[in-house]
């Protein structure tokens, strides 16, 4: 996966809580056997009307946010299904960072395994970002190494991230290659449990 450290971009405010993976990528688009090409289906039923034309009410169709790499939403983002197609769609669309007060566990894992940085900020901080982002184009500088988010007006926030995931994201490592280095431990475990039976 692509390493990630510093991202500077206008934020896209998606002012909703409990955004589920069915909304992020609807089931009719899960039949592909590739990992790419899902971006055009991101938030499909919010983004497009039933006749297939863009819904002007939806934030992704607001021209102010074109080419944004940072998506901001309310709590429990990515709840529901384990479909990794959700982060694949987010990434393929062009987002590298998501900011929310909280995430569903599986979705969070799926993000970090695809080079998307899911940032947790306090609820009040996210609310402030959403308000600023809705009023005008609002640029953020995200720095993973420093674990900081800084707004164009100087507002600054820090975030926590598990050091293991931070290292993986900064380096864009392939987790399987890392785990294979622990093969002797896996073999030892298998021998031990075999004997116990």
């Amino acid at each position: 996966m692509k390493p990630i450290n510093e991202i500077s971009s206008v934020l896209t405010p998606l002012d909703r809580k409990n955004v589920d993976t069915d909304q992020i990528i609807s089931k009719e688009f899960l039949k592909r056997i590739e990992r790419t090409g899902f971006g055009k289906y991101l938030f499909y039923h919010w983004r497009f009307k039933a006749d297939g034309t863009p819904n002007p009410e939806f934030v992704l169709n607001d021209t102010r946010f074109q080419n944004s790499e940072i998506l901001v939403a309310q709590e429990n983002f990515g709840c529901g299904s384990s479909r990794e197609h959700a982060p694949w769609a987010i990434l393929d669309y062009g987002f590298r960072v998501v900011i929310a007060p909280s995430y569903a566990d599986i979705f969070y894992n799926n993000c970090v395994k695809n080079g998307i940085l899911p940032i947790r900020l306090q609820e009040a901080e996210v609310t402030a970002l959403l308000e600023k982002g809705k009023q005008a184009r609002y640029r953020l500088d995200v720095d993973l190494r420093q674990q900081s988010v800084t707004g164009e007006d100087g507002a600054s926030y820090s975030f926590d991230i598990d050091p293991y995931w931070k290292e993986m994201l900064l380096n864009g490592w392939d987790e399987i290659s890392l785990t294979i280095q622990y093969d002797s431990y896996i073999q030892a475990y298998e021998e031990k449990t075999q004997q116990a039976q």
Partner: protein, 472 residues
């Protein structure tokens, strides 16, 4: 020191641990299906990797399969996904219950049926409803496709130790109240993210009294409470269910295993990070009115009003949900007319679910405005139901009796609810568009779905049941 079953299973599966790192956990059983596995197998191929333990994998096809005519998959992309799983299983030596196999079915229904699901195992699948298998006292959770590839290649996962949560259901369930009502009541009380970062253990008298199939219904929807996994400590009910199944030992070896399983149960005095208690008396037959599983109430109640919420964001969520669901604030839930009934899914398509629904349906007729389908959870469930004549009960009442699969739970196959129409569904998610673009879902138990099919609107199933006379 007294330990929970969660801690015991976790400790038994640590392959490698080091401070500042997640633990490397061994995975005992890896279930696969056609939707979340193709990219994982492709990843193996691209990197020249093998499946480390094909003997610990088991695959089936469920999400895309047609429920009318098995031999025709009209959608070419669905067909390709099905074919790809077949080819991947052949190439990597993974056992598969394919589309025409007598064991085929929804992955979370067949794992337990085949005795693959056992207490104390770590079980994963690229599917969030893997939590179902926790009913056996297994640590079972859904994973993404990158993790599927990781498990295929290494039989392990890096996992940070979760927090533990007890949800205790005290007392006895009331008349007409089922396992589905328990889990819907839990989620509506505590919210869809109550379980984030936790594994839930369900305890208490009401849980102990449930059958294995009822426990599966509850554990299945742990993910709807935000928990990756939910489980029930094994007891004699668990052991009785597994005795004699394929893939479990026989004779004395089984009794030894059973002893080991029972010892996994949470120790007396063990503590949890969080504990909640609900009284079974407070639970009544439930329906959801909104667009996530926490938006529900007892059938005798009304759609909430803005005045019921203190926070602006909750009022916004209510407004958005009701706009999608085409419902008015304060409307009585039992007035909501439905056009579709779906009895199926990994939540509620086991034999006992079909039996319970058939009791309500027997001798009655589906409302003329309603299309009602029954989709058994597996070929095994279907055969058993037909042997008891349940198919005839449903057919005579005007239900359709289909082949097995995930079907209308997520409408990846042809079974979709049309836009603007409403379904009383025994599945697990009422998200926007879940059962088809523009469709509206009301989650209910199998008996509540059956009663709605007869009446043509959501209704209290207790009116269809005879209350048992209390024993003196």
């Amino acid at each position: 020191m007294a330990k929970t079953i969660i801690e015991k299973i976790w400790e038994q599966h640590i392959v490698f641990e080091e401070p500042g790192k997640p633990d490397l956990l061994y995975i005992d059983l890896h279930l696969l299906h056609e939707v979340t596995s193709p990219q994982a197998f492709e990843g193996l191929r691209l990197n020249g990797r093998k499946v480390r333990r094909p003997d610990l994998c088991f695959a089936t096809m469920d999400h895309n399969v047609p429920t009318r005519n098995r031999s025709v998959i009209k959608d070419p992309i669905s067909r390709k996904q099905i074919k790809t799983l077949q080819e991947n299983c052949d190439e990597f030596g993974v056992p598969l219950a394919g589309i025409n196999h007598p064991d085929q079915g929804i992955v979370h229904v067949i794992g337990p049926e085949l005795g693959l699901t056992q207490p104390g195992k770590t079980i994963v699948c690229g599917d969030s409803h893997t939590s179902t298998h926790g009913a056996f006292g297994a640590l079972a959770f859904g994973i993404g496709t990158s993790e599927v590839e990781h498990v295929l290649s290494t039989q392990t996962l890096w996992q940070s130790e979760p927090k533990t949560m007890e949800i205790r259901i005290d007392g006895k369930l009331g008349f007409g109240v089922s396992a589905k009502d328990i889990i819907l009541a839990i989620i509506s009380t505590y919210g869809v993210d109550m379980g984030t970062g936790h594994i839930i253990e369900y305890t208490g008298e009401a849980i102990r009294n449930l059958s294995m199939e009822e426990r599966m219904t509850i554990c299945n929807m742990s993910i709807e409470a935000g928990a990756r996994a939910g489980l029930v400590s094994p007891d004699e009910t668990t052991v009785d269910y597994l005795r004699g199944r394929r893939n479990v030992p026989e004779g004395e070896a089984f009794e030894r295993e059973a002893e080991r399983w029972l010892a996994l149960a949470t120790d007396e005095g063990a503590s949890y990070d969080v504990s909640h208690t609900i009284h079974a008396d407070d639970i009544s037959p439930f329906v959801t009115w909104g667009t996530n599983p926490s938006m529900g109430s007892g059938i005798a109640e009304h759609v909430p009003t803005s005045a019921d919420y203190d926070k602006q964001e909750d009022r916004d969520a209510l407004r958005q949900a009701l706009a999608y669901m085409q419902l008015e604030e304060g409307a009585p839930l039992s007035s909501i007319a439905i056009q579709h009934v779906f009895i199926g899914s990994c939540t509620n398509a086991r034999l006992s679910d079909l039996r319970a629904a058939s009791e309500i349906v027997k001798g009655r007729t589906v409302h003329p405005a309603v299309t009602a389908i029954v989709v058994p959870g597996s070929e095994t469930v279907k055969r058993a139901a037909e042997a008891e004549g349940l198919d005839q009960v449903f057919l005579q009442a005007g239900f359709e009796w289909r082949e097995t699969g995930c079907s209308m739970c997520l409408a990846m196959n042809e079974d979709a609810v049309p836009a603007g129409e409403r379904c009383a569904s025994t599945s697990n998610r009422n998200f926007e568009g879940r059962q088809g673009a523009g469709s509206m879902t009301h989650l209910v138990s199998p008996v509540m779905a059956a009663a709605a099919a007869i009446e043509g609107h959501l209704t209290d199933v207790r009116n269809y049941m005879k209350e048992p006379v209390p024993q003196a």
